[in-house]
């Protein structure tokens, strides 16, 4: 065995690892004749001893007990947490399904209600209605409570839900809302509305009424009637009056008509 060969096995020799008997005896023989390799072996053995001392010195070291407590806590939390996402998912699925069902039912009801409301005006046209000059009679079709809103600062104009212009114009001359009417008949009275013609605002003329837009129900101080050339009863100066504002597609107010509820016995 030469020094190079010895050097390659010196580590394993010093570690006391299993070696071929022949190789081992050759290594021992080599160290007896080579001072450098004998010194290398001695160093390797001392290094081995130092490493083992270090390993023995650290053998008692371990993680703190608080670490175990934390891990056990994490383990328990994991036990609790794992099923939760499943139940949450199920709950979400159920909620979604119920919401979808409600939406479907609501859509069907709305669709049927719309169909029935399209049929009723034709029936209502023949019904005798009190008609005044410059006024058209309209029965309130909207079953919902009016959600009202201020239009501008300083004024207490209140809006009702918007309706299509074409439908609203058609409602001028005919009664609306057979369902409400039925219920009102049961209450031994019928509420109706009397409305003026649309009065143009600004430079709008009557032909542009057909351009489309929406009608917005508002409430105005009665005093505002004067600005449209309508006589105002000063005794009821502070009262409010309902009005429909025709709003064009670009959002500007085009025309206004005043509406008055009329109770019929």
């Amino acid at each position: 065995m030469n020094c190079q060969k010895f050097e390659s096995v010196a580590g394993e020799f010093a570690r006391g690892q299993m070696m071929e008997a022949e190789l081992r005896s050759e290594a021992i023989a080599h160290t007896s004749g080579c001072a450098t390799c004998a010194s290398l072996l001695r160093d390797e053995e001392l290094l081995m001893r130092g490493l083992r001392s270090l390993a023995a010195d650290m053998s008692s070291l371990e993680a703190s007990s608080s670490s175990e407590a934390r891990l056990l806590n994490a383990f328990r939390q994991r036990q609790v947490v794992v099923p939760l996402p499943v139940s949450r998912t199920n709950r979400a699925i159920w909620l979604t399904a119920v919401a979808a069902l409600f939406l479907l039912v609501f859509s069907l009801v709305a669709f049927r209600w719309r169909d029935s409301s399209n049929e009723t005006p034709a029936q209502q046209v023949t019904a005798p209605q009190p008609v005044q000059r410059d006024e058209t009679v309209a029965v309130d079709k909207n079953p919902e409570p009016e959600s009202q809103k201020e239009i501008g600062p300083g004024e207490s104009h209140k809006r009702t839900p918007r309706r299509n212009l074409s439908n609203s114009l058609a409602f001028n001359a005919r009664a609306k809302g057979s369902r409400n009417r039925n219920s009102n008949v049961a209450a031994n009275h019928v509420s109706s509305e009397v409305a003026t013609d649309f009065l143009p605002l600004g430079y709008m003329n009557a032909t542009t009424f057909q351009d489309g837009g929406q009608i917005v129900r508002v409430e105005l101080p009665r005093a505002r009637l004067a600005s449209f050339g309508i006589p105002v009863n000063m005794d009821r100066f502070n009262e409010r009056v309902k009005a429909d504002i025709l709003v064009s597609v670009d959002g500007t107010a085009r025309a206004i008509r005043f509406v008055q509820e009329k109770r019929l016995e």
């Binding site: 030469n2 020094c3 190079q4 390659s8 580590g11 570690r15 080599h30 004749g33 080579c34 001072a35 450098t36 390799c37 160093d43 390797e44 001392l46 290094l47 081995m48 130092g50 490493l51 083992r52 001392s53 270090l54 390993a55 010195d57 650290m58 053998s59 070291l61 371990e62 993680a63 703190s64 670490s67 175990e68 934390r70 891990l71 056990l72 994490a74 383990f75 328990r76 994991r78 036990q79």
Partner: protein, 217 residues
Amino acid sequence: MTGKDRPGRQFSMKPKSDLTDSELLCLMLSGDEDAFSLLYRRRQGGIYRFALQMSGSQQVAEDVTQDVFIFLIKDGHVFDATKGSLSSFLFGVARNYVLRRFRGDQSTVPFADDEDDQPFDPMCDEPGPLDDLTRAETIENVRRAVLSLPERYREVVVLCELQELSYVETAEILGCAIGTVRSRLHRARALLLAKLKPVPESVEQSSAGVETVRCFA
């Protein structure tokens, strides 16, 4: 999964302390807290010491140990018994966490890799630790010398020499060939010897290196 196949039923015949690591892991993954506790107590020491010997920091060792077992709690199912022992698996995970720490926090690494060829001289004015230092001093010097090794050499020294794992286990943990482990360990021991040997004054004073005399007897 039928009741017959459930791990708790499968291993209920043996006391838990007699179960193998893999069996305990199986129980643990089915929610058995005792199995987890037993597995932790069985393996945490080795993992903690490995992390401590690799990093030289108790805080890092604590954190790494905790991270390893949290990983086991969350992703223990990825362990494949056909690829090696659970112990090797845990050491492999610990190694990844330690290396991640080194990448993220350079202050944890006591010595940079490029210093590996510089002689480690813990006490220039004292005799060499391999000769006549006290045991405690020797241990401290060896510990510092190990920590000063580059990562690839340090980990084989820690696993093979300090954790006393076999080359096969070390190769499993490092994901390399046994021959690579052997050669790295050989190189690591040479580096350790160089670091622990006292530097002769004559060599220190002269800029020329020592010419190695090798006999070819």
